[in-house]
Symmetry: C2
Subunit: 419 residues, 2 copies
């Protein structure tokens, strides 16, 4: 079916306004490793998707999940062993204080649980997030998108960063703001519950965060009686080269939420915390999720961990991530549209600006690059607080050859656009 | 691993208090058709689970989903055909006024979307539900569990039924209550948005609903400017012998939510409505669900529909459901603990009471029956507003032989307990 016909059907069946990537959307029919193919057989290199983190249609993943589908798939009001094996294994990748886990299906659901846990553990209501974040689409979690700094149960702080700040001491500038918002809760009698943040500020555009910020923020949150929550839906599962983004940022959260890559394409999300926090949640709720904690979720989750371990993907992320970063820095020297180069592991951002001095965000430049790269066969996206950051986030199996192929295309794209 | 060891691990990993069925929980290792097997190889007949609606591990389902896992699994910001084929097919089972659909992963997510749609379509806030319902576990949707009749944005009415009512005219008695709650919204300036209800009142215990209630309720809701929403997570997909519970109840909803059986074990849920309602939702939100509208969800959904159609499961549900009902009525004659026998298709309830006159709910009797049936190798559950209803909800492939085997076991169980 042609793209035009699919678009017409899509508008009719999903309603006009459902989001699509690229000025000319692409139709996908097959995936393999870092490659995806359209209906004409054209190959694209995937530098965007973190759900198929071990590569598209990895044979071990397909085999493990298919085998479980053939054997058993039930909910968790019966005992079955595999989900407990997976829970044990997932928890073992975390800090010792993370002792237990509640599975769900999406990042939104994981963050719903985290907010309920925080409120039950502290008796508070007030939640702090950053001002350019996204943690999910439910009524409660979406309050964190576009939250105000001074009203409601959910309040925002400017996201901490070093690129655009005027402050002499960005660390203390941002920490002070956190304290002020905590104070604002106190002033109008809203008991404080905690802070939920992506440790690497993925949606904010992967800014360089003042060194030590997350640990200091957690300390301030604790002193105010709150819990510190890390949303690892994008940052986690070796994406940065560490198992979890909070490890990269040197902070230990009280509650961690995980999603997207966890199930490698089978909906699987998780909220992990200390035994005390989890059992408080259990005592006050009868939380049950029919589609979660299933043997098929366990198979998917275990297969992803198998591949990460067996193929040394953590090491690959660090090596290739470092290689990309060095080359991005070289490319930046040649193009004064690139204001900043940053990120971690295989999650990198190039920030486009109209000029290096004003640092005015240039969303259109990022959009042009994304669309031009797509025409060359490379799938990236634009993101960040100003939508002006080229988001480079290939599967964890991305090789040096893949990286070189992409870097060549990026250089040519930038040269064409400069011309 | 022994059940004791699994229980210990589960308490440690999931936190004490996560729910399990049966006084002595069972460990499951394999499923096939209507049967599930424990670690010792013991066979159980599944009369409870509606997610594997086409039977556990149906070969066509396993093959179709496995094949898609091997081919492609991406999100819906790219074009791919299969999810549109599935959307078309799903919508074609609905009333003509249901024209478009938004996919998600769980019933909770589907109901989150429905509530947002209702509020955006009407500009209202006030939602009406019944007083013994459950529509999901998010902060917003769980407001419908235990909602009060006279305060807040979500208000409840007594669920309509004919067994325990004292009213001379139960239909008008219940409709009047609905009007009063709508009036209560008007009185304190909460604009009304709509009513969300399971058309067969599954969680309420499948009561006989005064004839015509749902259609009259929808009319009243419309007159007050609200939308009528049917939660088909339990009632839908041929469970009653009709495609959707609302068809069985003779009402046309404005918004329909679907979940559990839709994906046959792959998390898949949907919210369907008119083009107008869906496009209003699209205009006001940027709803996107990474794990939803995927080719694997499409494969799972299509495989379930294939099997329902090819194996004439709709007819099977009606035939076997009728057979069960007739035999339940005969069994009721012999046991004065069974106050009421009801339900639709392959979703049946036997209500246990201490005596037929007072109709005092006897939860303990239902719990005893459920546990005794489990010991005999038949998996059922207890449910309803008073937890005193034996819930009989086998996969749609349940045969007459299966039914006879179960009925024998039920009769023996009831005789033993009467003795």
């Amino acid at each position: 079916m042609t793209n035009t016909a699919l678009l017409e059907r899509r508008n009719r069946l999903f309603g006009k306004g459902s989001t699509l990537f690229y000025e000319q959307p692409i139709q996908l029919v097959r995936g393999e490793g870092v490659f995806i193919y359209d209906e004409s057989g054209r190959r694209y290199v995937d530098l965007f998707n973190n759900v198929p983190c071990v590569g598209h249609c990895h044979p071990h993943f397909v085999k493990t999940v298919s085998s479980q589908l053939r054997t058993l798939n039930v909910h968790s009001r019966y005992l079955h062993q595999s989900i407990l094996d997976y829970a044990d294994r997932l928890i073992s990748t975390h800090h010792d204080s993370i002792e237990s886990v509640i599975f769900s299906c999406t990042g939104t659901e994981a963050n719903e649980i985290a907010l309920q846990m925080a409120r039950l553990a502290t008796g508070g209501r007030g939640i702090i997030c950053t001002d350019a974040t996204y943690h999910g689409n439910s009524a409660e979690v979406s309050k964190l998108t576009g939250a105000k700094s001074n009203q409601g149960d959910v309040r925002s702080i400017r996201f901490p960063e070093t690129y655009r700040t005027d402050a002499e001491d960005p660390l203390n500038d941002h920490l002070k703001e956190l304290q002020l918002v905590i104070e604002s809760f106190r002033e109008d009698g809203t008991p404080f519950a905690g802070m939920l943040v992506c440790p690497i500020l993925a949606n904010e555009g992967l800014p360089n965060i003042p060194k030590g910020y997350m640990a200091e923020a957690a300390k301030i949150v604790h002193q105010a009686g709150g819990v510190f929550m890390a949303d690892e839906v994008q940052a986690g599962l070796c994406r940065t080269g560490m198992w979890w983004g909070y490890q990269m940022m040197g902070v230990v959260p009280d509650i961690v939420t995980m999603g997207k890559p966890l199930g490698g394409g089978i909906p699987l999300a998780a909220t992990a915390a200390s035994t005390e926090i989890t059992e408080t949640f259990r005592r006050h709720t009868r939380y049950f999720n029919t589609c979660a904690s299933s043997p098929v979720q366990a198979a998917a989750g275990n297969a992803v961990l198998d591949i990460i371990e067996k193929d040394n993907l953590q090491e690959n992320v660090t090596t290739i991530g470092h290689f990309l970063h060095e080359r991005f820095l070289q490319i930046q020297q040649k193009h004064k549209t690139i204001g900043d180069v940053r990120g971690h592991g295989l999650f990198r951002g190039l920030e486009f600006v109209t000029d290096l001095k004003s640092k005015t965000p240039d969303k259109q430049a990022a959009v042009r690059v994304v669309n031009a790269l797509k025409e060359r066969g490379f799938l990236t996206g634009n993101a960040g607080a100003y939508d002006n950051v080229l988001k480079v986030r290939p599967p964890l199996v991305f090789s040096k050859n893949d990286a070189e192929e992409f870097l060549d295309a990026l250089e040519q794209t930038l040269e064409d656009l400069d011309a």
